[in-house]
C-alpha cells in the first residue's frame, strides 16, 4: 500500500520548518502564518480552519504567542492532540524583579530549540510508530546541526567586547538570544507588535542608542520600516538591514529555514556590534533592567 504522509499543521513558519526537519518525507507540513507573516496579529481564514480539520497533528508554539489559535482549533472541529512546541523550554527570568517573563519567542535560544525538536520527534513517533526510527535518526542529525550552530555563535560573539553587545530591533523578539549569548536588545515595541509605542519609549531608546554608540539598527521582516527610520535618523545610525524574529523569509531569500535564519541574524548582529563605537566616555551608563525588559 502507498504510504500517505502524516498531515501536520504548524502555526507559523519557524515551527513549520522545525517540523519538516524532523518529519522529512513522512510528514506533510502546513504553516498557517507563512513566511514574512506576523503571528502576533494574524487573522485566520477559512482555508486555515480546513487545514486544521484535516490535520493528523497540530503544533503550536505556546507561551501566549498565538492568541487566536484556541478559538480557531475549536471552530475547525479538530479533535486530536495539540502539541505545544515550547513545552518544557527554559523560561526567561528577570533578575531585578525576581520573576519569570512570559516571552513566546523561545526559538531564539538554541538550547530551547533542542527541546522543541525533542517534543516534535516524540509526538511524531507516537502518532506514526512505524517510522519512529526514521524520526529518531533525523532528530539526532538536526540536534548535531544545532550544536554546531551554537558553537559557531558562541565563538563569534565572544570576540566582541561586552560593552558593544547592544542591538536595536523593532520589537522584543530576541530576549532569549540575548540571555544565551549575553547581548542586550533594545526595542521600541514590546514583545508583541500590536501595541503602539509611546513617545517616552522612543525618547528612551534614542538616548540609549546615542549613549551606547550604536551605529546600525535593524528592521524586521514583519513590519513597517517607518518607525526605525525615524530612530536611525535621530540616533545618528544607519538601517543595517532586515533581521528575522517571528517568521522565516520566503524559501529563496536569506532566511528560508531556521538554521539559515539564525546564521543570517547573527551575521547581521556581528556587523552592527563591530560598527558600534561603544559607550561614550563622558556619560555614565545607567543601570538597565536586563535585555528587553520594559517598564
Amino acid at each position: 500500500m502507498e504510504q500517505v504522509p502524516l498531515k501536520a499543521v504548524a502555526t507559523f513558519s519557524v515551527l513549520g520548518d522545525l517540523l519538516k526537519a524532523v518529519g522529512g518525507e513522512h510528514v506533510h507540513v502546513d504553516s498557517i502564518v507563512g513566511p514574512n507573516g506576523d503571528a502576533h496579529v494574524y487573522e485566520p481564514s477559512i482555508r486555515d480552519a480546513k487545514a486544521l480539520a484535516n490535520a493528523d497533528l497540530v503544533f503550536t508554539n505556546g507561551l501566549g504567542f498565538e492568541g487566536w489559535m484556541n478559538r480557531l482549533i475549536e471552530a475547525s472541529g479538530y479533535k486530536g492532540t495539540v502539541i505545544v512546541g515550547a513545552k518544557g523550554v527554559r523560561r526567561r527570568y528577570d533578575p531585578i524583579q525576581e520573576k519569570e517573563i512570559l516571552d513566546p519567542h523561545a526559538w531564539h535560544s538554541i538550547s530551547n530549540v533542542k527541546q522543541y525538536i525533542h517534543n516534535i520527534a516524540q509526538a511524531l513517533a507516537q502518532k506514526d510508530p512505524i517510522h519512529a526510527d526514521y524520526y529518531e535518526s533525523r532528530k539526532k542529525a538536526y540536534l548535531n546541526k544545532l550544536e554546531d550552530l551554537d558553537q559557531w555563535i558562541r565563538t563569534a560573539i565572544s570576540n566582541i567586547p561586552t560593552e558593544k553587545r547592544k542591538i536595536v530591533t523593532l520589537h522584543d523578539g530576541f530576549g532569549y538570544f540575548g540571555e544565551d549569548y549575553d547581548v542586550e536588545f533594545l526595542a521600541p515595541l514590546g514583545m508583541s507588535t500590536e501595541f503602539e509605542p509611546s513617545a517616552q519609549d522612543l525618547v528612551n531608546l534614542i538616548q540609549k542608542a546615542r549613549r551606547y554608540g550604536i551605529k546600525v539598527i535593524f528592521l524586521e521582516n514583519i513590519s513597517s520600516p517607518k518607525l526605525m527610520e525615524q530612530i536611525a535618523s535621530e540616533a545618528d545610525s544607519t538601517i543595517g538591514g532586515i533581521v528575522y524574529s517571528d517568521a522565516l523569509s520566503e524559501p529563496t531569500e536569506a532566511a528560508g529555514t531556521y538554521l539559515k535564519m539564525m546564521k543570517h541574524n547573527v551575521n547581521q548582529f556581528l556587523q552592527a556590534m563591530k560598527a558600534s563605537t561603544g559607550p561614550s566616555s563622558k556619560t555614565t551608563i545607567l543601570q538597565t533592567s536586563g535585555p528587553g525588559h520594559r517598564h
Binding site: 503602539e196 509611546s198 517616552q200 519609549d201 517607518k226 525615524q230
Partner: protein
C-alpha cells in the same frame, strides 16, 4: 519647567515633526470639521474613513510602501464614494446619510475582498498607516500641502459655503452653483482624512478633525471664531497629547485624541455658548451667526 514642557521637543527631531504634523492637521482639519458640524454631517467622516481604507490598500498592492500612491488611492476611493453619494442624494429622494452608508459599505467590502485575495498575512493597518511618532519628510509635506490647499480653497468659497450650510434651498433658488461648492468641500474632507491617516496613523485620526470642532461650538458665536477655537483646541491637543506620551509613557495617538476629548467635555460643561453651565444660568443658547 523648561525641561518638562519644551526640552523634549527641542532635543528630539521625531517629536518636532510630530508636533508640526499636528499643527498642520489642526490648520486643515479644524475648519473642515467645523463645516461638517455646521452641515450636520459630523458622522460623515467616519463613513468616509472606511471608504478610504481599501483605496490605500490598493495603492499599497500596486506600488508597495509609496506614500504618494497610497494617499492617491485613498483620495480617489474616498472621492468616488463621496461624489456618488452626493449625486444620488441630490438627484433622488434618498437622504445624504443613507446614500453615504450604502456606498461606503460597498467600498469597504470591496476593499476587504481585494485584501484577502492578495492573501497578505501582515496586519494591513500597521503597514498602511503611519504613526505620529514616525512622521517622515514625505508625510510632513503631504499634511502641510493639504492644510495649505484647504485654507486657500475654504477662503475662496467661504461665503457661498456658509450660505449653503444654513439654507440650501434658498441658495439653490438664487444660484445654481450650490452643488459644486458641496463637491469641492467633500474633496477637502477626503484630502484631510487621507493626510490625517498617514500621520496620526489610526482611524482615530478622525478625532482630531471632529472633537475640536464640536468643542468649539460651545465657545464661539460666529463661524470664523469657531474655526479659530477649533484650531486652538486641535493644536493644543496635539501638544498636550505628545507631552503626556513623553512623560507618562502612554501611546501617542490615543493620548492626543483623549486630550481633544477632555477639551470637548470641558467645553460642554463650562463653555460660554449653550453649555450646561449657561443653560443652568437660564440663558438662551445662541446659534452661530453668519458673518
Amino acid at each position: 519647567m523648561y525641561d518638562f514642557f519644551f526640552a523634549p521637543f527641542i532635543e528630539h527631531l521625531f517629536l518636532k515633526r510630530a508636533m508640526v504634523a499636528c499643527m498642520a492637521l489642526a490648520l486643515g482639519a479644524g475648519p473642515v470639521g467645523v463645516f461638517l458640524v455646521l452641515r450636520r454631517m459630523s458622522l460623515l467622516g467616519d463613513a468616509l474613513s472606511h471608504s478610504i481604507l481599501p483605496g490605500v490598500a490598493i495603492g499599497f498592492f500596486i506600488s508597495g510602501l509609496s506614500l504618494t500612491v497610497m494617499s492617491l488611492g485613498g483620495f480617489i476611493m474616498g472621492l468616488v464614494v463621496a461624489l456618488l453619494a452626493g449625486v444620488v442624494s441630490r438627484v433622488t429622494q434618498l437622504r445624504e446619510d443613507a446614500s453615504f452608508a450604502g456606498f461606503f459599505l460597498i467600498s469597504l467590502a470591496l476593499g476587504v475582498t481585494l485584501v484577502s485575495m492578495k492573501g497578505s498575512n501582515v496586519d494591513l493597518l500597521h503597514i498602511l498607516f503611519g504613526t505620529i511618532l514616525a512622521v517622515n519628510v514625505d508625510a510632513l509635506l503631504l499634511v502641510a500641502g493639504v492644510a495649505t490647499l484647504t485654507l486657500i480653497v475654504l477662503a475662496t468659497i467661504y461665503r457661498p459655503l456658509i450660505l449653503e450650510c444654513v439654507d440650501p434651498n434658498y441658495f439653490k433658488s438664487v444660484s445654481g452653483a450650490g452643488g459644486y461648492y458641496h463637491i469641492i468641500f467633500l474633496m477637502l474632507v477626503v484630502a484631510n482624512l487621507v493626510a490625517a491617516f498617514q500621520t496620526l496613523g489610526t482611524l482615530m485620526a478622525l478625532g482630531l478633525m471632529m472633537l475640536p470642532a464640536i468643542g468649539a461650538k460651545f465657545w464661539a458665536k460666529r463661524v470664523w471664531s469657531m474655526i479659530l477655537v477649533s484650531f486652538l483646541f486641535a493644536s493644543s491637543s496635539g501638544y498636550l497629547g505628545l507631552l503626556i506620551s513623553v512623560h507618562a509613557g502612554y501611546p501617542s495617538g490615543p493620548s492626543i485624541i483623549l486630550v481633544a476629548g477632555v477639551l470637548y467635555i470641558l467645553s460642554l460643561l463650562v463653555g460660554t455658548q449653550g453649555s450646561l453651565r449657561t443653560l443652568r444660568a437660564g440663558k438662551r443658547p445662541a446659534s452661530p451667526k453668519i458673518s
